[in-house]
């Protein structure tokens, strides 16, 4: 992966757009594009490439020219002010919603529309969306069932994973009997059991306490490395974004686009103490500045 570290205001590492080598139509002025993309790296390394993704709901424009490329095996975290369009972006990449006309998407080297992506990425939505009539186990194996795994086999598989998610003994409970954090862990488990190369996680650890969160993070990194998955991960916690990601995408206020692409060059495995290392703090400050600016905008902006 190539990195472009040109100087930018506030010391942020902006990746400057390079017109050359890319069709004009997919680019708009002022957008940050990924270096690999700009350098025309081989398609084979890219699992997902989005250019100029725009999405409008009635009078509200949620996304406006979101452009980014995700490489195979990358762990990319996405941060951005509340309401900037992160969940909308994920809905599009999960294949659930088509962007406005005129947007280009490539998945595993092929040009696709959103609907083509259905069933090809594992997606964990922001709300857990557990089915109230299914037990914890049966909620967890939902995706496996859809894939056609025999129920018995799927259940056995899930049963074994319960302790890893701190849900041991809760397999036969129903969602309304769980706490907020437990529900989120069931949703997470459901996503993990649906094994796809690209994983989209929308604030998966939002409702977890510090330690459970740390344990789940470690576990996630483990899965990611062992199984060579590619992960797109939304969080509102900058520490988490830096601790986990190879790269952090900072989104602008609504309408969302990429404001800043920050490469995280910290060595792996990253110990817990890394959060107090000077390099980490430096990166964090850069991100916080960028986010703060956008969040201020989004907070004071009128709707629409």
């Amino acid at each position: 992966m190539t990195t472009v570290l040109s100087h930018a205001p506030m010391g942020a590492h902006y990746t400057k757009k390079k017109e050359a080598g890319l069709p004009a139509s997919t680019h708009r002025p002022g957008e940050a594009v990924l270096a690999a993309d700009a350098a025309g790296a081989s398609d084979a390394a890219q699992i997902l490439s989005l250019s100029g993704i725009t999405k409008t709901f009635g009078a509200t424009r949620a996304l406006d020219g979101f452009t980014a490329t995700i490489e195979k095996g990358e762990f990319v975290t996405v941060v951005g002010p509340s309401g900037c369009g992160k969940s909308t972006l994920f809905n599009i990449v999960a294949g659930l919603e088509e962007p406005d006309p005129g947007c280009a998407m490539r998945f595993e080297g092929k040009s696709v529309i959103a609907a083509d992506l259905l069933g090809r990425v594992s997606f964990m939505p922001q709300r857990d969306l557990l089915l109230p009539w299914r037990t914890v186990i049966d909620n967890a194996i939902l995706a496996l069932e859809v894939e056609g795994t025999p129920r018995k086999q799927a259940r056995a598989l899930a049963e074994k994973m319960l302790p890893e998610f701190g849900l041991a003994g809760f397999g036969q409970q129903y969602p309304h009997q769980l706490s907020g954090g437990m529900r989120q862990r069931v949703a997470l488990m459901r996503t993990f059991l649906f094994k796809r190369d690209l994983m989209l996680l929308d604030e998966p650890f939002g409702a977890l306490d510090a330690l459970t969160r740390t344990m789940m993070q470690r576990w996630l990194l483990d899965v990611w490395q062992k199984h060579q998955r590619t992960i797109l991960f939304i969080t509102h916690d900058v520490d988490e974004a830096l601790f986990l990601g190879d790269r952090v995408l900072v989104m602008s206020a609504r309408p969302g686009k990429v404001k800043l692409t920050q490469k995280v060059d910290l060595p792996r495995p990253r110990p817990a103490e890394i959060v107090i290392s000077p390099e980490f703090i430096r990166l964090k400050r850069t991100l916080l500045e960028a986010i703060e600016e956008e969040a201020m905008k989004s907070f004071t902006a009128e709707g629409k």
Partner: protein, 268 residues
Amino acid sequence: MSAATLQSPAARPGTSPLVTALFRAVRGLATLLAVLAAVEGLVVVLNVKPWYVPRPTLVLNAILATPEPYVQGFLRTLTETLMGFTSGAIFGVGIAIVFFRARVLRELIFPVFVVSQTIPVIAFGALVVLWFGNTLIAKAAISFYLTFFPVTVNALLGLESVDPRQEALMRSFGASRFQLLTRLQLPAALPQIFVALRLASALSLVGAIVGEWFGDTVGLGVLLLQGMYNENVVAIWAAIAMCALLGTGFYAVVAAAERALVFWGAEQ
């Protein structure tokens, strides 16, 4: 226990369903006996003419005097009701699924369904006999005709009110339309479907009874009709009591099935 829990239709875990069912049955019986005793008392005290309201004991005596026709009629009508109910429920849900899936078909055919429901069956007794003869099928057909429509309307409502985000999630797993239906839409629509089934339990019985009016020899409907036109008030009430017994019993069974199947109530 909070008031909300008390009102919640879902059985709370902790009490055995059998015990609850037994408790309900006993309580229901007790209420019934109390009401009957009150009616008996009122009729005697106020000296109500028997052709307005006969004494419940008189009605009971009438049933006990010739129990066979009542028992036979009960069983026969029950059979017809079950046939009509089952076919109506299956068809109702099935056609709702078809309409849900194919908007064009729905817009094309639904008005025809509505119109079909405005045909007073009893104006066409002869036609019913002509088409179905004096068979069980004839009664089941009328019972079916009264049953399927509310089931269709409610099932359609249920299918349409599935949380779109849940549907989106299933689609992101690559769920086929069939899987979407069996794993999400049908279970999610179950509460609404059961509302219609409870209604249908009463309507299917009505259908069976009216069906028996078209030249049948056995059944509660026959007894009812005989009582009505002979102005044998005791016989009318005896038949009505049997109908009510059958109807409430059937309703209770459907409601119990609902409690067992839709245990999650309105929880998300």
